[in-house]
Every structure is written in structure tokens, then in C-alpha cells.
């Protein structure tokens, strides 16, 4: 009897926590599926006929009420997040292999410095980046944001990938070494295939960090390369707020992180604990 009571109280607490966690998100998704006229109507109708009208307004489906053309900003966000993830993962995997497999002078120092580069808020390196980019013609370009995000995300990516490489037994490589396989061959033919889930999770994490950034994009772009977070906030104008399209745009912005968490959290725990947990 006592056991049942204990169990049911555990379920109750967990259920309440789940409701608090997801209700705000579900609420916004629900608002985005109402017709734009009723988005904020009170009392809120819980049962309604879902419509994609708010979404249509975002993609120029209805010319009279077309607020912004979200396509361009979605494209910007995807291009920048995706390309910076590719570059980040390439450089980070090479670096992580070195930190995991070689023994060399200054190794601990280097790995701590790499982590320390994440100490400052992104805005702190934004003034010089802004000046450099202005002069180099990189301001408000995809390439500029790509470079900034790569720099910001490399430290975490190195630490995460390193954790996954550390888990691979060294003996396989020793065997390959005897067979005359080069170091790069080992990374490419042994390490990467074995750690694919971990590397994929790290890549997805990097993608989301780039996708989520607001402050660097605010500083380094003006009109051409605005990204999703900026656009979602731009519905807040002094003249009033278009709640329908705003909730729809917010939903679209939140979808990649939600999908990511659902599929990658298992590997995320392993990667983020950076070996502090012996698995």
C-alpha cells in the first residue's frame, strides 16, 4: 500500500512538471492554428477548427494581409546554420581527434583555453567583428555570419566530439597502424563510422545553437541576412502586433529545437557531460 502511494505521488509530481514544461509551447502552437482574427480572443476557445491562415500570411499566400515574406528569412537561417555547422564539425573533429589521441606539450592548457573562449557573451567580441566585417565587406552577408557562428560554436563541438572519440578503444587503431593505415585514414575509416551517432548529435546541437542566436545576428546584419529570431521579434511594432502571424512564425522558429531535443537528447547527455560521467 505504501509503495503504491509512493509511486502515484512520483507520477503526480512528474506529470505536473511535464505540464509546466510543455503547456506554454503547446499554447503558442495552438494560437498559431486559430484564424488570425481569433488568435488572442478571450475567453480562449479550446476547441476550434484549425486553420493554416496565419501561416499563409507569412508566405505571401494572401497579398492584402501579407506581413513579411518569411521565406527569405527562413532561407537565411538555414543557409547560415547549416554551412556553419559543416565547417564547425570539420574543424572540431580534427581538433578533437588530436586532443583525444595524441599526447603533447600544452594539451591541458589548450583544451582549457578552447573552453574558455566560450566565457564571454557573444556580444563582447561583436564590436571588433562588426568593424572587421564592415571593412572586409562581410557585414550583412551569409559568409560573415557563418564565420562568426563557426568561431562561437567550435569550443563546445570540440569538447563534445572529443568525448565520443575517447569512448572508442585505442586498440582498433593500433591494429590499423600495424597494417600501415595513416592517421587520417584512421579518423576517416575507423573513428568517424564508429562515432557517427555522437558526431551527428554534436552537429545537430551546433546547428541549433546557430539557429537560436539573436545577439550576434543583431550586430552583424542589417537587412539582407536577417535570421528567424530577429524576424519573429519584428512583429512587435509600436503600431500594434499581428498576433496570428507572430505565433505562426514563433512556432516555425521553435520547431527545429523541439525536433532536435526529441531525437538527440540521448546522445546530448553523453556529449555535454564531457566525460564527467563514466559511462
Amino acid at each position: 500500500m505504501k509503495k503504491i502511494l509512493k509511486k502515484s505521488s512520483i507520477y503526480t509530481v512528474l506529470s505536473i512538471a511535464v505540464i509546466i514544461s510543455i503547456l506554454p509551447v503547446l499554447w503558442i502552437i495552438m494560437l498559431s492554428l486559430k484564424s488570425p482574427m481569433e488568435t488572442m480572443a478571450l475567453p480562449p476557445k479550446l476547441f476550434f477548427k484549425p486553420t493554416l491562415e496565419s501561416y499563409r500570411m507569412l508566405f505571401g499566400g494572401n497579398e492584402t494581409t501579407n506581413v513579411v515574406d518569411l521565406k527569405m528569412y527562413l532561407k537565411n537561417s538555414f543557409i547560415v546554420a547549416f554551412s556553419s555547422t559543416l565547417v564547425t564539425m570539420l574543424f572540431a573533429t580534427l581538433g578533437a581527434y588530436s586532443l583525444s589521441r595524441f599526447r603533447f606539450k600544452g594539451k591541458n592548457m589548450i583544451s582549457i583555453i578552447i573552453l574558455a573562449t566560450r566565457m564571454l557573451p557573444p556580444l563582447a567580441s561583436a564590436i571588433p567583428l562588426f568593424l572587421i566585417f564592415q571593412n572586409a565587406g562581410l557585414f550583412d552577408t551569409h559568409l560573415g555570419l557563418l564565420m562568426a557562428y563557426t568561431a562561437i560554436n567550435i569550443p563546445f563541438a570540440i569538447w563534445m566530439v572529443r568525448g565520443f572519440i575517447d569512448d572508442v578503444p585505442v586498440e582498433i587503431e593500433e591494429a590499423a597502424h600495424v597494417d600501415g593505415c595513416s592517421r587520417f585514414g584512421m579518423l576517416w575509416k575507423i573513428i568517424i563510422p564508429v562515432t557517427t551517432p555522437g558526431i551527428a548529435a554534436s552537429a545537430a546541437y551546433t546547428f541549433i545553437l546557430a539557429w537560436n542566436d539573436f545577439s550576434l545576428a543583431m550586430m552583424l546584419t542589417s537587412s539582407n541576412v536577417k535570421t528567424m529570431p530577429q524576424v519573429v521579434l519584428s512583429f512587435l511594432t509600436p503600431e500594434g502586433i499581428e498576433y496570428g502571424p507572430m505565433t505562426a512564425a514563433a512556432t516555425i522558429a521553435l520547431l527545429p529545437p523541439i525536433i532536435f531535443i526529441i531525437f538527440a537528447q540521448k546522445y546530448l547527455a553523453r556529449g555535454l557531460t564531457m566525460g564527467a560521467v563514466k559511462g
Binding site: S100, M119, P128, F214, I262, Q265
Partner: protein, 309 residues
Amino acid sequence: MKFSPRKDKSFENFASKGGVGTKAYEPYLWLAPASLVLIGLILYPWLWTFYISLQKWNPLMQSSPIFIGLRNYIQVLTDPNFLKAIKLTFILTVGTVSLQFLFGFILALLLNTDIKGRSVFRTLLMIPMMLTPSVVGLLWKIILQDEMGVANWVLTELGFKSVGWLSDPSLTMPLIIMIQTWSHMPFVLLMLSAGLQSVPNELLEASKVDGANFFQVLWSVILPCLKPVIVLVMLFRIMFALRTFDTIFGIWASSGPLKSGMVLGVYLQEQIRVLWNFGAGATVSYLMLFITLIFTAWPMLKIYRGESR
């Protein structure tokens, strides 16, 4: 218990055997691309930021930079708004990090019991973790709107007075702490859950056989085992709490009613983006780095010690 982040699997013999992968410069070569990016786009800008912090410079007023030594630092450190920002940032960091730990730890312990549907619960609890911070601000803004928000509607339906969530200055900090806890508690939960799973079962069984109660087990078995993870989580959570900006900006697009939400991140943004005061902005950046260092030196040192063991 010592912090031991990872087993060192670099294989001395293999590396010094001769043949491929033996040249002394090779480890550095592998690190070169990442290092170049970090040096060129992070470390070099940091140094430059320090130089800018010694200048009086406002590009909006077309002024060219004038070297003024440490005067920016004196000016910023005597600005009442900056001192207020430090105080608010401190309140925010202590408040949200301890709440994140409290809730994260309780939920991690509950998830570590033999209940059904663990992975479903875990996944759903994780959802707020990686949501775009600025959009999170907006999301709560929509819910907490003074007149149109659903929160106040529920309150009035239940017979309470509606609350000026977003317009009452005295509610600003509790609100920010609450939202930050909502979005970052999952991170603590995720890491502590991973840590709990690695606590050896034999230890738990043994202490139960010895008749230890739950709190004794918690104190003398679970917490010591979790220490390395706790240190790491502390490092991350403090680091990110100190730079909170996006969510606040997502709600108010400013420092909130009567500047009641003016934490360091918002203060920095106002110096750079609103006042275009590059000299003072750079100064604030450096002071923030200094504050971050004070808060994170201890966990960093722990990790470093573990690394070099």
C-alpha cells in the same frame, strides 16, 4: 573524490613508435584549423575589445577614437545603472541557478526510480531546453500580456485580480528568474540524470542493506558520485546566467519597466546598440569577463586539475 573527466587514452607507445603520426608538430597541425578560427575570430577581437575599452569612441557622433586610458572604467564603475546591473545580475544568477538545481535534482531523482514511461517523461521535460531564447521571451510575453494574456484571464475567472506581469517593476526580476529556470532546468536534469545512472548499483544496495535511510544515501553515496557532474553543470549554468540577454529582450525589447530588468547583458546591449558607445561597451565586456572569471574560476580549476591528473 577527484574530478576525473576522462580516461586518458592517448597511447604513448603508439605515438612514439615511429612511422605515421609521430612527428612532434602533428598534434598541433590537427588542431590548426580550429585554433586559427578561434585566434582570428575570438581571441584577436578580445584583445581589440580591450584596446577599444581604452578609447572614447562613438561612431554615431562621427567621432574618431580618442585614447583616454582607464577613464571608461572609472565612468562605467561609477554609473549607478551599471552598479544596479551588477546587483540584478547577481540576484538573477543566484536565484535561477539554485532553482534550476533544486527542481532539476528532484526530477532527476524521481526519474531514476523504477517507474513506467521514464523515457517519455524525460523527453517531454527536456523540451524547453534548446528553444530559441529570444522566442521564449516572446512566448511568455504573449501568455502574460496584461489585458489579452491568457494568464490574467484565468486569474480573473478564478476570482483573483489580474496581475501586471510585464508592467509591474517589482515583478520583473521574479519573472525573469522564473522563465530562465523554466528554460534551463532541463539542462541540469539531463546532466544529473546521466550522472545518477552511473552511480554503481552495488553501492546503493549495500547502503540499503546497512539500513541507511534515503537522505543518508543521498548525502554519502549519491552526492559524492555526482560531484564531477555538479561542478560541470554549475560552470555552465553560471556562465550562461551571467550573460542573460535574449529572453529579456524578447519580452520588453528594452530593460523592462523602469529599467527593472537591466542585467549586465541588457546594459551591454544598450551601450553598444542604442547609445553606440563603443568605448563604454568594450569596457562593460571586459568587466563582464572579469565577473565571469570570479564566478567560474573554481569549477574551471577543478576541471583543469582533473584533466592534468
